[in-house]
């Protein structure tokens, strides 16, 4: 009988670190990644040789870029593997680091996401399409925005309010790429991109790094890590797209089934979630996903947003980091950075972004629609 992560031995996040997400620049990826890893090691108060295995998430750096970064920590000979899974690369790296520790193969493992903005190369499948070259991600989500607004009879201007909230959160996050509050008028008045989407409703793809160190009880004991700052991983689920009925949005349907499995694994309900970090590359996604997660019925997301229920201090803080829209989406780091934000919140160390009494957090990423990864983290009592 197959088992879930939560049925194996306990796994805890014990260290988190970032290199700020930023506009594309001259900083080599090695410098970005090392900054995040050293911050995570310092946060855990361990030294590099304690790390028994590394998972390097990167989508745009090319083959085997991790070794050229990790060697500057002192080449320990520990195994390393690269993980590319589109936007969910970092979440996937985190899952596999957790699985390695939960299985008992390692006691301490690293998930590091690092990327710079490079051209995306998609392989030729041999199957042609009518006009896929004309439908980039922002147009895919512009279509979903039009569909959502039409189906639920909501003004597209209300959908843009997601960006106002997430820019407000990002303004308080020193690791965010965009750190400026924006009014609804500014969001709506910005450069038009596709359909009703404006530039400030779309994630700015940039560069950066995020690192997370996970450990077992044994690893925590052996390295003298402070157990009071450890955050338990109570669910880890990865899924890929199936065939859904015609017209059903696959991003939302895939999210729904992945979250259901994760909540069951953690023995939690959606209403117990205090923090959610989700894939808001485009404003409408946040509404789709909070509805798929089960915070509210389909079409009711706008009402929650407008009454402040998704704010820091509201019923459930959604994207307190600023999300992909404000914190940014450097691809490889994004899913790892979500875990870091949830850990800060559950430890009560999120400063001006702190959501009160945060006990349970959920991290969600989709990768080009086709894959979905969900993790649940809980403060240890």
């Amino acid at each position: 009988m197959a088992r879930t992560l939560n049925e194996l031995r306990p796994v805890y996040v014990v260290g988190i670190g970032w290199h700020r997400y930023q506009n594309p620049g001259e900083t080599p990826y090695v410098a970005l990644g090392l900054t995040a890893i050293r911050e995570a090691l310092a946060d855990a108060r361990i030294e590099w040789p304690a790390v028994e295995s590394s998972y390097v998430a990167t989508a745009l750096l090319g083959m085997a870029s991790g070794r050229q970064m990790l060697r500057h920590l002192g080449a320990s000979g520990a195994p390393l593997v690269h993980i590319e899974n589109a936007s969910a690369s970092g979440s996937t790296a985190f899952r596999h680091a957790c699985i390695e520790v939960a299985s008992g193969i390692s006691d301490v493992a690293l998930a590091i996401g690092v990327d710079k903005r490079n051209p995306v190369r998609r392989s030729d499948t041999g199957i042609d399409h009518l006009a896929d070259d004309a439908i980039v991600p922002f147009t895919h989500f512009a279509l979903l925005t039009n569909e959502y607004a039409s189906r639920h009879r909501v003004p597209v201007d209300d959908i843009a309010r997601v960006a106002v909230k997430n820019h407000r959160n990002g303004a308080k996050n020193p690791n965010a790429q965009r750190q400026q509050e924006r009014t609804l008028a500014e969001v709506l008045g910005g450069k038009k991109v596709s359909g009703s989407l404006t530039a400030l409703q779309c994630t700015p793809v940039g560069e950066g790094a995020a690192a997370v160190i996970v450990a077992s009880d044994e690893g925590i004991r052996r390295h003298g890590i402070n157990p009071d700052r450890a955050v338990r991983v109570t669910a880890s689920v990865g899924r890929s797209e199936r065939v859904y009925p015609p017209g059903v949005g696959f991003d939302a349907a895939l999210t729904r089934e992945t979250v259901e499995l994760a909540l069951a694994e953690a023995k939690r309900s959606a209403h117990e979630l205090d923090i959610i970090e989700l894939h808001d590359a485009f404003t409408v996604e946040e509404l789709h996903y909070i509805e798929s997660i089960g915070l509210c019925p389909e079409g009711h997301g706008i009402a929650m947003l407008k009454e402040g229920a998704l704010d820091i201090g509201g019923r459930c803080a959604v994207n307190p980091s600023g999300g992909l829209i404000a914190m940014g989406h450097p691809i490889g780091p994004t899913g790892v950075g979500q875990i870091g934000e949830i850990v800060m919140q559950l430890r009560g160390e999120a400063g001006p972004r702190q959501h009160r009494d945060a006990l349970v957090g959920l991290a969600h990423m989709v990768g080009v629609g086709a894959v979905c990864y969900v993790h649940i983290l809980e403060r240890c009592r």
């Binding site: 042609d128 399409h129 569909e147 189906r151 450069k191 991109v193 596709s194």
Partner: protein, 138 residues
């Protein structure tokens, strides 16, 4: 009469019938399990994994219902200069397809009936080819 040149002849063809260019049909496929897909492919059925004789070509009508549209303001690929409009249409025959609207100035709303026609394009080498584009159904 010479057949007209199609931009993507593996995806659509002229429905033998009245007028030039005639109305197009889409080159879809059907699996033994009942799953109807577009475009036709022989790698294997996305729903059940069957291949070989299980997969047969299935011409699909372009008639359908508009699910969504988006006027694209920015597009990096210079071979597709913006603005242009993308439509997402649920075909009466099953699959959902996405491609360009023939006329950006056409006022369309989700729920309305759509169909496709062949539209002439001038290629860089001066040759005229026809591509499938959607229009509001009359």
């Amino acid at each position: 009469m010479q057949p007209i040149k199609l931009l993507k002849s593996q995806l659509y063809s002229e429905d033998p019938g009245a007028g030039r260019p005639a109305d197009p049909i889409l080159q879809g496929g059907r699996c033994r399990c009942g799953y109807v897909f577009f475009p036709m492919q022989v790698y294997g059925c996305e729903r059940c994994g069957s291949r070989g004789n299980a997969l047969t070509p299935q011409p699909l009508s372009t008639r359908g219902t508009l699910l969504a549209s988006a006027l694209v303001h920015l597009h990096a690929d210079k071979s597709r200069p913006a603005p242009f409009t993308i439509v997402k249409v649920a075909l009466d025959d099953g699959p959902v397809v996405r491609t360009l609207l023939a006329d950006d100035s056409c006022d369309i709303v989700p729920g309305q009936r759509m169909t496709a026609k062949l539209v002439s394009l001038q290629r860089d080498d001066g040759e005229t080819v026809f591509d499938l584009r959607f229009v509001a159904a009359g």
